[in-house]
Symmetry: C2
Subunit: 246 residues, 2 copies
DNA sequence: ATTTAAATGTGTAAATAATACACATTATTA
DNA sequence: TAATAATGTGTATTATTTACACATTTAAAT
């Protein structure tokens, strides 16, 4: 496991002070955001976690979260917090659910709104490495701090549902990719194995792939054909589908 | 349109005072819940609305909402507020989404969590009729107070999605119902017409209906057969389906 | 009593989508 | 040159969805 770079404790302390004053006031509710950032890497699905700030959860991993500012749009807070904790911008965040059990945070009353995203680990550099920010294989994620295990489970379920409703993953692969790459993506997210022939058939009939007439390079076996996504066709099609965009 | 019974303004005034003090404090965020209660009545889908308390939205309709108490579970707040404003209990509420634009509430910073439900209008008596609490045909709902139109639209979409994933409506019909009743329910929620034969076929193959060998009474046409739901079979089946319960 | 109106009840063919399944081909590596 | 490890391809089967028309039953009207 990778050891994080040197942390910048000053920021964390400040954050904790804010939490203290906000959260220990029994007369109102503090509002936070937690980001569940899923990352696709090679053929694995991972999630971004940091070490918990709190003594109670010392040693445990937790999601990327912080308090919402009083005059800040909720969505804006999610983007700010993600940026602050990871350096990531250019990442689309989607609200998933709000968790508001009264005793979910040991320091006081904090209701949290969970946001989720899915990115390609190779395409995004983490610039901030406080609190041992790392990617974790989702299959090894257990026993997170706070109620973060529940939040994580909820977000993973939602992601799996989404990927079956819409052909996601357009931004998760290199510009040129093989059908094997694409299938790996789906198999990693859904945690299932698929039939190669049926998978290909399905994607070809959807007609979102453009054949580049190029082949993979430097693979230790017969190289596959390379494709790119037909974004234009996808966008047109998307408008016909009912439901919320992703 | 029905005129509400005598209101009990004391409660509303108190609520408003709480909102004032909570919301006008620029140093923190107030948290509220809004309930979108859909009602099925005869063959129409309706929603419960009240007149807005605020001068800014005088005359406009709004959802059933109020502030969450500092030490109250979020879900519990939703049930309390529904009970408080309508007298309804025994109604299952499902969280839909959280709305947190900074300027969504004119009195100050209020983030609201939307909850939604679907009940049979005939099965539930509204005991509290403050602020002209009424059922409104969903097709005539426009221009609600605050961002309530957006919240309403989001909840309606979610309801329509849900009803296509799971056979809802088990509690929305009389114990004995005809297939026409059932089809009316689906057509009202989804706002579409369906083919009668295919609809029947679908429900029979799902095998959730028990033939009661009884006929409708007092209908001005050929009476249909009556059925009841096979709750046991439904519950067994439900466990196999992925996703959140409803 | 007869007719009319308005619904119920029923089956089949066609189209579409989902699934299961096996072998020849191509490039790399040993 | 042989072995390895993938890619690329097609068809039959099954299940699901859709489209569609006519005889039947009751109540209400004449």
């Amino acid at each position: 496991m990778i050891t994080g770079e040197k942390t910048t404790p000053a920021k964390n302390i400040k954050t904790l002070q804010v939490i203290q004053s906000e959260v220990e006031n029994k007369n109102h509710i503090a509002l936070s955001v937690d980001c569940v950032i899923f990352g696709f890497d090679e053929a694995k699905l991972e999630v971004l976690l940091i070490r918990s700030d709190l003594k109670k959860y010392a040693g445990k991993w937790s999601l990327l979260g912080d308090l919402v500012f009083p005059s800040e749009d909720l969505d804006a807070a999610a983007y700010r917090i993600l940026k602050q904790r990871t350096g990531l911008s250019d990442v689309y965040l989607e609200q998933v659910s709000t968790f508001g059990t009264a005793n979910r945070h040991p320091a006081g009353r904090v209701v949290t709104v969970a946001y989720c995203s899915l990115i390609n680990v190779q395409h995004h550099k983490l610039n901030i490495l406080d609190n041992e920010l790392h990617w974790h294989d989702i299959k090894k994620v257990t026993d997170l701090a706070f109620d973060h295990q529940q939040i994580f489970d909820t977000c993973l379920k939602q992601l799996q549902k989404r990927v079956q409703e819409h052909p996601l993953g357009f931004n998760l692969l290199p510009k040129k990719f093989s059908l094997r790459d694409l299938q790996n993506l789906y198999e990693a997210i859904l945690d299932i194995k698929m039939d190669r022939r049926n998978f290909r058939k399905k994607f070809f009939t959807m007609d979102f792939l453009i054949d580049l007439n190029e082949m993979e390079q430097d693979v230790p076996h017969r190289p596959g054909k390379l494709y790119k996504f037909n974004f234009e066709k996808y966008e047109k099609q998307k408008k016909k589908w009912i439901g919320i965009d992703f």
